[in-house]
């Protein structure tokens, strides 16, 4: 019967034991997930916040201080206990099981109870999943939380990840009003085909970080795009598959080593090297990893051509020694339409009158978060994955990683183009800093009809505070070293709690073109 679903049915669907056992979910992320999912489904938080804070708290600062204190108490009472002060709120929830979901927003006392449980659970989890320093006393919440996050990609203990996940959070949106506006430290993620993976890397974060961007390859040829005859036969007329391949990949080791050495000479240290989408092969990646210092991370787009009817691969590899290298496949294939075929001058190999899908394997979708410090969680996206809202964008928006690196095989990274638009969306909500990087070869292959050609703008930076910054590779240079400094600002939840000024934003604080090493050969 439509419209008859009850609060109890909804909660039992998330945590089946509530059918017979309504004891308090004493693990804060479980309580957070149950209560926030209910507020989200009913939209009751919007109604609740019209008249806020609860009358007994009088002011937002009293509410925030009380909730923070309870959160600390809950943190100290872990692993199996919880503050008695919350028992009353949980009883209100349990007594409402028979109420239809659609009536929830009219139940003021219930909404206040849910909001309080969400807020206290959130405060209890401050710093869960972030790297620690052993200075605190025995802290089961942090300890077990780190294990759960690394092993199962969720902080929940009782709630199965196929129903809901809870992850750490780095940013709270400061615009709009959604359920994401209600927490500082935890994020609620709907069950999805994407598996989030959380890895803590022993990264040494200085006050600034220098990255070496290498927009390789410096030349892309039209004949590297090919139609894949066998697979195309399966598609209706008007569609086809294409593959991108490099038949004679160059040994990049010497060139990258020289660029790294020069960048390090000029900036003092280089923490990471970044290469664009489909810029190197597996073999090149391994050789590069071997040649770079172990304290330098490597984020690179790695590809392999289709073979005998099997789709090719297009993935980002994240290498943060001593962690094992992490592979994340691109989630969406690129579709070349008429205007793009013409823009990249591919008409000689791909008809502009068909739509061409990139022939790659898009299965086993995962999203990797690298937790580098308490102030820096990073994730990487490949091209289309920055633009498509699902299945990955919801998780990115929920977590709000401090730094998103988008590896592209795209035209120049000018402010007017699509990557800048999507970077701006993420910078605005939840507040990520976004770096996009394409290859010089693709930027030069691009000849849009309407735009002025600016084929050496290979990267773009966007953060919450500043407009998009185009990063151009001057003629004769082969790489760009950028410096990122961390700016701190206070973020607030919609219920009025602040993080104490600890929201961290990497900000672009230096751009240095790096010249061609003397002995490297131009491709």
């Amino acid at each position: 019967m439509p419209d008859k679903a009850t609060i109890g049915e909804f909660l039992v669907g998330i945590l089946p034991r509530l059918q017979n056992d309504t004891t308090f979910p004493s693990w804060p992320p479980d309580c957070f997930a149950l209560c926030l999912a209910l507020l989200k489904r009913s939209g009751a938080y919007a109604q609740l916040l019209r008249d806020w804070p609860p009358s007994k708290d009088r002011t937002l600062s009293i509410w925030a201080a009380r909730v923070r204190k309870l959160g600390e108490k809950w943190q100290r009472s872990q692993p199996k206990d919880y503050p008695d002060d919350l028992e009353g709120e949980w009883q209100v929830v349990c007594q409402s099981f028979a109420i239809p979901l659609k009536e929830l927003r009219e139940q003021r006392a219930l909404c206040e109870a849910l909001m309080k449980l969400v807020a206290v659970a959130d405060e209890a989890c401050e710093g869960v999943g972030a790297p620690k320093d052993q200075a605190r006393e025995d802290d089961p919440l942090q300890d077990l939380g780190a294990d759960l996050l690394a092993e199962y990609g969720t902080l929940c203990l009782e709630i199965d990840p196929s129903r809901l996940r809870v992850l750490s959070r780095m940013h709270t949106p400061q615009n709009g009003l959604t359920e994401r506006s209600l927490s500082l430290y935890l994020s609620l993620c709907e069950a999805s085909e994407v598996t989030p993976q959380w890895q803590a890397s022993p990264f040494i974060q200085n006050d600034s970080m220098n990255l070496l961007l290498i927009p390789w390859p410096f030349e892309v040829l039209v004949n590297q795009f090919r139609k894949t005859a066998g697979a195309t036969a399966r598609l209706p007329k008007g569609f086809g598959f294409f593959t991108f391949t490099d038949d004679s990949p160059e040994d990049l080791t010497e060139r990258v080593q020289a660029l790294h050495t020069e960048a390090k000479r000029r900036l003092g240290r280089i923490e990471g090297v970044v290469l664009p989408e489909l810029s190197i092969t597996d073999e090149q990646f391994r050789a590069l990893r071997e040649s770079l210092p172990q304290d330098c991370f490597l984020v690179a787009g790695v590809g392999d051509r289709e073979t005998a009817g099997h789709p090719g691969t297009n993935e980002v590899r994240l290498s943060f020694p001593p962690l094992p290298d992490v592979v994340q496949r691109k989630h969406h294939p690129w579709k070349l339409n008429e205007s793009q075929v013409i823009q990249y001058g591919l008409g000689g190999v791909l008809s502009p009158y068909r739509e061409w899908w990139e022939y790659i394997d898009c299965t086993d979708r995962c999203l990797n978060f690298i937790s580098m410090s308490e102030d820096l969680v990073m994730c990487a996206l490949v091209c289309e994955d920055l633009a498509r809202p699902d299945p990955v964008a919801n998780i990115v928006r929920a977590v709000g990683p401090n730094l998103v690196i988008a590896l592209l095989m795209d035209g120049p990274q000018t402010k007017e183009r699509w990557a800048a638009r999507y970077a701006t969306v993420l910078a605005d909500d939840p507040g990520c800093s976004v770096l996009s990087l394409t290859s010089l070869g693709m930027a030069q292959l691009s000849r849009p009809r309407a735009e002025t050609r600016r084929s050496r703008v290979v990267a773009l930076w966007k953060d919450r505070f500043n407009g998009a910054t185009e990063i151009e590779l001057p003629p004769g240079d082969e790489a760009i070293a950028i410096s990122l400094s961390t700016r701190y600002d206070e973020e607030f939840t919609a219920d009025g709690r602040g993080d104490g000024g600890n929201a961290a934003f990497p900000i672009l604080s230096g751009v240095h073109p790096i010249g061609a090493p003397p002995r490297s050969k131009q491709r």
Partner: protein, 87 residues
């Protein structure tokens, strides 16, 4: 520096971040690779640093530096929080 397995990297991160507890022994026993076990044992203080290879030492150094760095970042966070909340 060593390259650890996913499991060993998670276990070592936990060993170095959290105080010695009942779970420490369990964690050490779950390490898959011999070199990772050596890293873990040095980090919890039951093996001598000088008795292992330079690669293992480099990995231990990295995790120790990480913890020091995390401490610095935590103190900064706490200071920012105090200053913000005292206003």
């Amino acid at each position: 520096m060593l390259r650890l397995t996913h499991h060993d990297a998670n276990v070592i991160a936990a060993l170095v971040q959290f105080p010695v507890s009942e779970r420490t022994k369990e964690r050490l026993a779950s390490l898959e690779e011999e070199d990772a076990r050596l890293v873990g044992e040095i980090l919890v203080g039951i093996r001598d640093y000088s008795s292992v290879s330079p690669e293992v030492q480099a990995t231990v150094d990295r995790y120790r530096d990480w913890v020091k760095n995390n401490r610095r970042l935590r103190l900064n966070r706490e200071a920012r929080q105090r200053s913000s909340r005292s206003r």
